[in-house]
């Protein structure tokens, strides 16, 4: 813990040294809300230390007293670190550790190679998969839609053909009926009518006034039948 305190003090000492003695560059534009946020943080940093005790009591989470020796030792260690960071150059202070520390003790390519690039690669794979999934779903819907449409169209055509065939059959039936009507029933009726007319004509001949001739023929016929009837036993 003491080593950590020394190192923390050292980097803060170094930061303060750079801030006070370094060359000033172009300052970025101020953002008022950031300044306000910083002011709040600075105020809290300044106040929370002394207010730690009352806060502990308020939260009901009082910690064990550190004691005077610990406080003095901690303060002395922190101040030593600050002095070390201010006065000793980092390369000298860290020695052989300076080079890896400059690279953030990056292992196997560091954050970039271990986290960032794999994450972006997974993201790119997901995106490529997403495009294919999207395309596949659209393709599936389109294929199902087109297949359904073509099946429906084929069914429609079949239905049309069937309806057409039924229609044609009906037409043929109609023609047949018409022919039967015209050449069968009508002719029969016509024949009956003609026959009736002819019979009528013949009947009208009976009413021609030549009744005596018709009567003579009838009497002759009756006489002939009577003669045949009388003569018939003679030959039996």
């Amino acid at each position: 813990m003491l080593a950590g305190t020394v190192l923390t003090g050292a980097y803060l000492g170094r930061a303060l040294n750079v801030l006070w003695t370094g060359t000033a560059g172009a300052a970025p534009g101020r953002i008022p809300m950031m300044t306000a946020g910083m002011a709040v943080l600075v105020a809290l940093a300044a106040v929370l230390g002394p207010a730690f005790g009352p806060l502990e009591r308020l939260l009901g989470a009082e910690m064990a007293e550190a004691g005077l020796i610990v406080a003095v030792l901690g303060l002395a260690t922190g101040l030593s670190g600050l002095a070390l960071g201010w006065s000793v150059a980092p390369a000298r202070m860290l020695g052989p550790l300076f080079a890896p520390a400059s690279g953030g003790f990056a292992l196997a390519g560091g954050m970039d190679a271990l986290v960032l690039r794999p994450a972006l690669a997974i993201a790119a794979t997901c995106e490529a998969f997403e495009q294919r999934l999207f395309g596949a779903q659209i393709g599936l819907v389109r294929a199902v839609g087109q297949r359904t449409a073509s099946v429906a169209e084929a069914a429609e055509k079949g239905l049309y053909a069937a309806t057409d065939a039924v229609g044609r059959m009906n037409l043929r039936l109609g023609d047949g009926v018409e022919k039967t009507d015209a050449e069968g029933i009508d002719r029969l009726i016509d024949g009956l009518v003609d026959g009736t007319i002819a019979t009528g004509r013949r009947a009208r001949r009976l009413q021609s006034g030549l009744i005596h001739r018709e009567l003579a023929l009838t009497v002759l016929g009756i006489a002939l039948i009577a003669a045949l009837l009388i003569a018939a036993p003679l030959y039996s």
Binding site: I31, A119, E130, V141
Partner: protein, 486 residues
Amino acid sequence: MPLLSIAVFLPLLGALVLMALPRQDARIAHGISIATAGLTFLVTLAIWARGTLPGGFAQVEEISWIPAIGAAYRLGIDGLSLPLILLTSLLFLLSSIFAARVKERPAVFVVLMLMLETASIGTFAALDGLLFYIFFEVSLVGMYFMIVGWGYEDRQRAGLMFFLYTLLGSLPLLLAIIGLYLASGTFDMRAWIDAPPLTGLAAMLALIAMLFTFAVKTPVFPVHTWLPTAHVQAPTVGSVILAGVMLKFGTYGLVRFALQMTPEAFTQAGQVILAFGVFSALYGAFAALAQSDLKKMVAYTSVNHMGYVVMGVAVAALATDPGIRTVALNGATLQMISHGLVTGALFFLVGMLQDRAHSREMAEFGGLLGLVPWLGWAFVLSAFASLGLPGLAHFPAEFQVFLATLNAAPWAIVAILAIVVTAGLYLRAIAAVFLGAPKAKWAAMPDLDRGEKLAIVPLLILTILVGVAPSWLLGMIDATMKALQF
């Protein structure tokens, strides 16, 4: 007073009044829209003030509808539906305020929005299976016309895809509802919850049907592909309602129908459902990381966030400890509300940016924080909330989901990696759009106007409030979740 019916049908009444008016110019249309949505919000606050019951449904309203088949007009609330109703009425009010800038066919736009509000509140309040299905389907119509009528360049295709995808997706639910009816002889959802009528294979088939419907709506991988397209092409208000309200139909249905009405089958399929939730959370985060379109990126984070909700519900089914079940369901429900607030805000902000720049490409921007500080800081806050920063809305929700997951299904904790990816993608977006040197072409970009601030500030305040002190919301949710029997 039947406050629930008033909350459901007040927006529809507003739409009818607007349609009956001889003059329908933009001022009158938006005035009616804001007034109706505002009154509806007040009514939902009154419903909240009346409160819920620790177990079962409160403020039940019931009128006989089709007695021959046991269907009735039944409404009611509990700790699951009430927060969603409050969220719905708030988002519609803020959307009405933001939509006051719509000058193209404003009356039709307002009528559609108010109809959509009726359908949305009705979906969450319905206690009758048939009534639920009707509200659930009617919402599609309003959103379809909103996308097609007021969307962006490829709106026709996106609208059609949204409509067909979700309509086809909802048909299995109808079969499941019919199955539940045939087994019970009623459409009363309370009866289905109190004594689940289906068992064995029938219950599993009904569960599969319901899961398909709600997975499309939520959405869950691999049936999520309609969402980015619809979000990108929808007008800003459409995106806010879609993300903030309509995606919740899916997660609400997952709990109300799938978990509560087929509990045994849900427990049997719990690991599979959990796997889908975990994969959706990870996949959504990585897919969002790959986007260069800001709106599409936010859309994909919805797949990620909804994945956590699915995880929470699945863990609740798998957990044997009642305490862990409650924690998981509390987290899942709070995640629905948080997502509505945070993603609603993000879609508003992306829409505001698009209105100004006519672009959504992150590479087009840079250094906007100094030029439009209100917009910039609001985006930063919402982005931090979306990535799950402690003190903001998503943290208490995701924390509870992960806590329960670690307890009931430790393998699924791998989904926590998605938080890191989400953090990376949002920080990249903030750096690309709002930090760095500002581009000269955006020098004259105006900051948020009064109407825009009015739409966004309540969401930001609630994002912080839910993050810092979620107990006012969790108290209501917790009482219901503790009493859930499955």
